[in-house]
Symmetry: D3
Subunit: 174 residues, 6 copies
């Protein structure tokens, strides 16, 4: 019997955070670790919504922090599941920041976190498959395969010559 399919939008979560003094370094910039903490929470909620299970963080893909986010800025994080593989789910997070009094927006940043759904005793358990709807969702869905191959190679769990889809990473745009 095939597993039930769900759409990416069913797992969509939006989270808003205000940058407070303890979140910043001595230049009054948001610390990267604090932002990753928020990314982990918002994407874990998205993975929970997709799977209706407790989830644990399995991996985080390469993240670039391009522009400083400042004390007092409002940070918006948006997450949704892009694709699932048995018990694991890839979640894409998009981050925007804004200095509201001046109306200045800080350029966005994105990341991929992977979660595993588990039962009460911590054992992995299968989750619904993803059926993408929009063009963007389909692009994320297709890209998930090569991102997964890169993750497995970097974790030493796949041999490079078996990563057929990964070759295309060299043409990949984010």
């Amino acid at each position: 019997m095939p597993r039930k399919k769900k759409h990416p939008r069913e797992s969509f979560v939006s989270m808003t955070e205000l940058v407070l003094p303890n979140d910043t370094n001595t230049l009054n910039n948001l610390m990267g670790g604090r932002l990753m903490h928020w990314m982990d929470i918002v994407s874990a909620i998205a993975a929970q919504k997709h799977s209706n299970r407790i989830v644990v963080t399995a991996s985080v893909d390469n993240i670039s922090f391009r522009h400083p986010i400042l004390l007092g800025n409002v940070v918006t994080l948006r997450a949704k599941v892009t694709r699932s593989f048995n018990s694991s789910m890839e979640v894409r997070i998009d981050v925007d920041a804004e200095d509201i009094p001046s109306g200045k927006k800080i350029e966005s940043n994105s990341a991929y976190f992977t979660f595993v759904a588990v039962d009460q005793s911590g054992r992995p358990i299968d989750v619904p498959e993803i059926e993408p709807e929009t063009d963007e969702e389909k692009e994320f869905y297709n890209g998930a395969l090569r991102r997964r191959q890169l993750r497995l190679i970097l974790a030493g769990r796949m041999k490079p010559h078996d990563a057929h889809e990964l070759k295309s990473i060299f043409d990949m745009k984010e």
Copy 2:
């Protein structure tokens, strides 16, 4: 005039954290985002020690979370700079966890964070070069080049056919 060189051990930092209730999910497992927050702090201190500058997080490489860390565990994070490139520094972090009453150690986890040294107005500023001493430090130093190429490609800032060292990633062991 050549820049001063420093050894990886000069930037070594060790940090110990106790896993408290607010750091855990409903399975009493340490949340990945909290661990990344600690990784960012310990590696930022290592980068500060190497550069004697304020530093900002530039990127985080792929991280795998293999084994759950539990409430009450003691987490030890060790960081040192592996290599510098003008104003940027790659830092390797190794994480261990232990349930001290039972003496049970949780298998280690490692990660690479990259920082940029900046002056008081936030402009990048050059840092000392790294001169590795031990065999392990030399291996990290050499691997830094291909990890950097992968970072630049993933950030869309390098073309794959220019990444000569990256080809060896497919034989890379962590």
Copy 3:
């Protein structure tokens, strides 16, 4: 010259929080004070978005906490400005909670917070007027007048016989 008008949706903010151990009492219920802290942050951001100014909390209307929200629940807060009066803005916040693994939703709760927009030295400054679009926004816009009269009477700043619109409060539905 008339002030620029803005729509309620332009100030819309959604915030998601995970209930952690320190947010709960000994029955594992979310403490009311923690929820009000989140309500204040999400509604302050809505007021900032409407006014593009720094804002300070001026008052909070009567709030009822009907159903317990539990440890591990995901709390979603949605806020938008309902009406402005010179430098002050009324914001309505709607709160939902969900136990995602079981799919059980906790019945919603709502509240009104009032903010004053201020300049850098803390002096009140006028904000755009609100032009409601949907039927619900129009209902909130109209109700704002009698809620304001009740606020002023309770603060001892208006005499009851001047509160013409307030008489209808006795027929008010939430």
Copy 4:
């Protein structure tokens, strides 16, 4: 058999907090949500002392924030139960703030929170009645009836024409 009566002073609690950076907005003013969080804790303790039970926040009455409280100020919150109704208790909280180095006191603020006493499984349970002693306590005790009627009407649980005592609210001074 009549329930035991207790005096308001038996539930009196005083709490002192120092305003730290993370409690403030970008004007260095204490955020309203943080103050409400403290109000909830001090009044919950007062309700616990009166009932010797676990208590849950049931409602909060209209609160006005008149004067800014600043970073470094010492905030004193004083709470006592004003009246009980079966399993519910109304608590009055008075707030003062002081900039101690300059000796400048910030004008007080007051609020009413309502709590329900519950047993270990969360079911409401009756609490002692209140016997006011001082003139001020008697005034709070008498006023509790009309504040309760307003609360019930605002929550849609009482019809206005049944609120006999509420009519006097229009002459009420705080």
Copy 5:
């Protein structure tokens, strides 16, 4: 010209804290470090009230933690200045804890913290002298001299044979 004198009761501060999950160890006992953090805040406020100055912690005397304080307990800390010496002030803190639902009180604990009053640039500045009123205050005032001698000897800043009052410590009761 003699300095103004103040009474211990003028610096009296009472602080109440609720023991939350993150304040406890794996036995659900309040951690000693968290209690000392609270002791430091309440006694710093007492020293501020006495001196109307910014104060910095100079030393802490020996503290014994006799009885465990538990999750959910209400902790009450009471502080007042016992004696001043030029720019320094000794503050006594008394701690009580209570499990309110069961009415069980946890036996008290006490401590002495010493603070130095400083001006805006951090330089020590003289504070008013203390004039004790009650018998207990006089006992604390007299004992302050030998506690100070013990502090100075332990810090290597006084020679034992100059500590005339300290000899009586061997008869001291707390």
Copy 6:
């Protein structure tokens, strides 16, 4: 049968903390209570490592805070067990702080905390004895006896004329 002996180095723990805004007072100095909180955590971990048991803080010896530690400083705490007595362990903590960008080190500070090892129901349980190795460890081991006598006298649990080793305290150097 004699208990197993362990060396001080087996319990060694190093902890690094970055001073954040909420850790500081209005002079941007680290608050003493925050530092004691960290001291308690690092020394509890050392006592856990020595005993492989849950531990509770029993007492803290006199601590002097000589030099201000500032916002943005990196604080390093190092702890190891100096001696054990049945179920109790004395831990010495050494604290250093550094302003890394300027390379300025803040002079060290030290403290002794005492812990009791307990079983799951909170009853004291014997721990291994300490066998010091270095000259410094031997000095700490020998001094532990007279520090313990001072602790017992100050807690009213030993009569001064029984404190034979304590007499030497008057020649003690730290």
